[in-house]
Symmetry: C2
């Protein structure tokens, strides 16, 4: 029967448009990134949660705006229910907290890592399934949560980007208070939209846009641009801001919040260059109400923010009458993986096993497994090639897969108890007695 | 506006029937289990992969039988494509390997952990979204892969169930060869179905069923039951099996395979009581062709196998003409978590932070964060309570959440540099100088 099969009988193996498989090299990087993020979250007491991929459609509809609704994977299940696949992790968090309020207690700190689905236009290079990695503190207005969020973002980026990043912090109350002072409150939306483009299009074009879209006078333009131009240490920026918001209740409160976060960062030993106060960071218009964050990689600023978030007033008002303010941020998993790969800062390996044992003394299979087992007990990850092929072919395979060292043991070596240890990248070989093997491998790997 | 909201305006926060949220306690256990499994897979050189939740419907239809098709979440996406959510990780693996064959190379060893979806009847206590955790070696017929699979299953269970388990191993060729010798080849299906119930219903009822469903004679019944009754060390069972399959090419090949795996287990130091040869293990009828595995927890044998699998001849015949034999197994994530919970062998904690720092000296917020930061740098996970509430209320919160120790620092302690360290479960307190704090906490935790 099988011999009769022809091409037309086969189903073409393919993924849906906008979807992709994750091959070992990429998976290795993703697991490393998400594992690192989890460790940081956990070190601050954030607990992991998960929610279903599918929700009642009414839970998700209208929560992410019109575009989200259009992009949603929504359908009728076999039981006649209208269901939809989650398009982010924030709406499910709101539903989750409202549903389990009593059980969870507040303040509630959670992280959530998982795929979400949006039927995006793939021409923009977007995928229809992608990972999100969020953390939030829900149920407290205390500035302590803002301080902690800043530290978590710092530690996250420190762990994954090795120091080459800047977290820009600002406060929406400060911004609003300042615009109020300039008389721009009514025109805050177009003003902040223009301001947000400063890094991209420069001061001149922002000024033009402010005049055109916000009907700003020359004095107003100057006011906005002088705020945006502030830079320096956190203390310097705070000092410069003080007279600019004096008399505005909102502005002064925002500044005091920045001051508190700044003090906590200082106490935690977080460098001035890693977390800066940048008064032009606005971070969207509607959702955030206090502290806001954006994060850029120093060597790739143009890819945009790789970790963003801020404080909001009400997480779950659609599902519960409880007042649930909070603060959180989201790590851009795909963006940061692409960036780290571009910068060569992420290991691409098709295998997690550093050690490769070719199997070529045909009758010694059990011995090869015994050796592998000994090395595993010493904490090493070990691959035994499963077929007794020629040594050269096996070593070629090992090199291509990305194994780092090979332990070569043929009949002679089995008898002498002295094995060949080969570094695959350099080709260097040495002879090592079996009892010294694990240590010698570790020395080679480090 | 908000004050006017009434109950009817709220959307009821609820999950779909058959779906569930994973709260911190359960997530903690799941992350531990899956993390442990990943470490074992990686120590053997298995690489992680992922595939999309959604596939073309034609990729999935008909692959898991009629029931799978009926239970599938299938629908038309916004682009008019027929799509479906994956119902297991094996069909996606077949599609994946066929699609990326050249890039991956064989033998290819992968693990895959992720949710799958089936519209199951929830009355049987089944969920419609659940985790699978699979590993497979694809593209080799070598018995080396069977040896390794047995070791991986052993190490997995050893790591998660702490020694209290039995892996039952058998070989379908051995079974077929033996039934051939008894003249039962044509009636193998009803025979194996009956045999499979031995542990549940006992020898007498199996004999009845063999007579009724397989038209077995008394001699045939005796033959089947005498095979099933074999027990002892791996070497003893192999010796007893040798005369029973003598002359059957299939049976002798199966026995030789068991012997090879047995030798490798011996060389890897895997105890006789942990992996046994059990000739009645059949593991389904159609799919498996050689070595098969089942695993039971010693203290909860009735919940059934928690890790099962075996060798198959052709993984991806529907998608490619390449011959892709392989072997793999699946860890029953939900079943094992339920079991470990029932046995009290899994930690249930709502927080990953062992250390709790109450914040009650109101003006010292930055100092509390400085202290927390120092402890984190010493490798501890630390929660700072975000609001300056009364100490008693904070400690009650800490106890309920599952934090283990509290570091209590009020104005007096900030000045003296000597802090109170409290063990929350026992209530014991001691005074510790700040420089000795991390070490003292570690001593208390161990």
């Amino acid at each position: 029967m099988r011999a009769m099969a022809n091409k037309r009988d086969l189903i073409q193996p393919r993924t849906l448009k906008g979807f992709r498989d994750t091959l070992p090299e990429s998976m290795h990087a993703r697991e490393w990134l998400l594992g690192t993020a989890r460790d940081v979250f956990r070190s601050y007491g954030f607990a992991g949660i998960d929610t279903p991929a599918l929700e009642y459609e009414e839970i998700l509809t209208g929560k992410g705006g019109e575009e989200s609704d259009k992009q949603m994977y929504a359908f009728e299940d076999n039981g006649g229910r209208r269901v939809a696949m989650r398009f982010d992790l924030t709406v499910p968090l709101a539903r989750f907290v409202a549903q389990h309020e009593n059980e969870l207690g507040t303040p509630f700190k959670r992280y959530h890592v998982g795929p979400v689905w949006r039927g995006e236009n793939t021409q923009r290079g977007r995928y229809r399934e992608f990972y999100q990695c969020d953390f939030d503190t829900v149920g407290t207005e205390s500035i302590a949560a803002d301080c902690e969020s800043a530290m978590v973002i710092h530690d996250l980026l420190d762990a994954v980007a090795g120091g080459e990043f800047t977290v820009s912090m600002n406060n929406r109350r400060l911004l609003s208070g300042y615009l109020e002072g300039l008389g721009l409150s009514e025109r805050a939306a177009p003003t902040l939209r223009a301001l947000d483009k400063l890094d991209k299009i420069g001061a001149e074009k922002v000024a033009e846009e402010l005049r055109r879209e916000a009907q700003a006078s020359d004095a107003e333009v100057e006011g906005v641009l002088s705020l945006a131009a502030l830079a320096g240490t956190r203390e310097e920026v705070i000092s410069a801001l003080a007279p600019m918001v004096e008399g505005s209740e909102l502005g002064e409160r925002g500044l005091e919040e920045l001051r508190e976060v700044s003090r906590a960062l200082e106490a935690a030993g977080i460098s001035e260059s890693r977390v800066v106060i940048d008064p032009k960071t606005a971070r969207g218009l509607d959702y955030y109400t206090g502290t806001v964050f954006e994060t850029r990689l120093s060597d790739l600023p143009d890819i945009g923010s790789v970790c963003s978030g801020g404080r909001y007033d009400e997480l779950a008002g659609l599902y519960t009458k409880s007042h649930l303010p909070g603060i959180g941020a989201s790590l851009g998993v795909d963006r940061i993986l692409t960036a780290l790969e571009e910068l060569g800062r992420v290991e691409r390996r098709a295998t997690p096993a550093q050690v490769f044992i070719p199997y070529f003394a045909k009758d010694r299979l059990a011995d090869y497994f015994g050796l592998a087992s000994t090395l595993r007990k010493a904490g090493l990850a070990v691959e035994v090639y499963p077929e007794p092929r020629k040594l050269g072919a096996q070593l070629k395979f090992a090199d291509r897969r990305g194994h780092e060292v090979a332990v070569i043991v043929g009949d002679t070596e089995w008898e002498s108890g002295v094995y060949q240890l080969k570094h695959l990248a350099t080709g260097d070989s040495s002879e090592v007695a079996k009892d010294a093997l694990a240590e010698a491998i570790r020395a080679l790997l480090s």
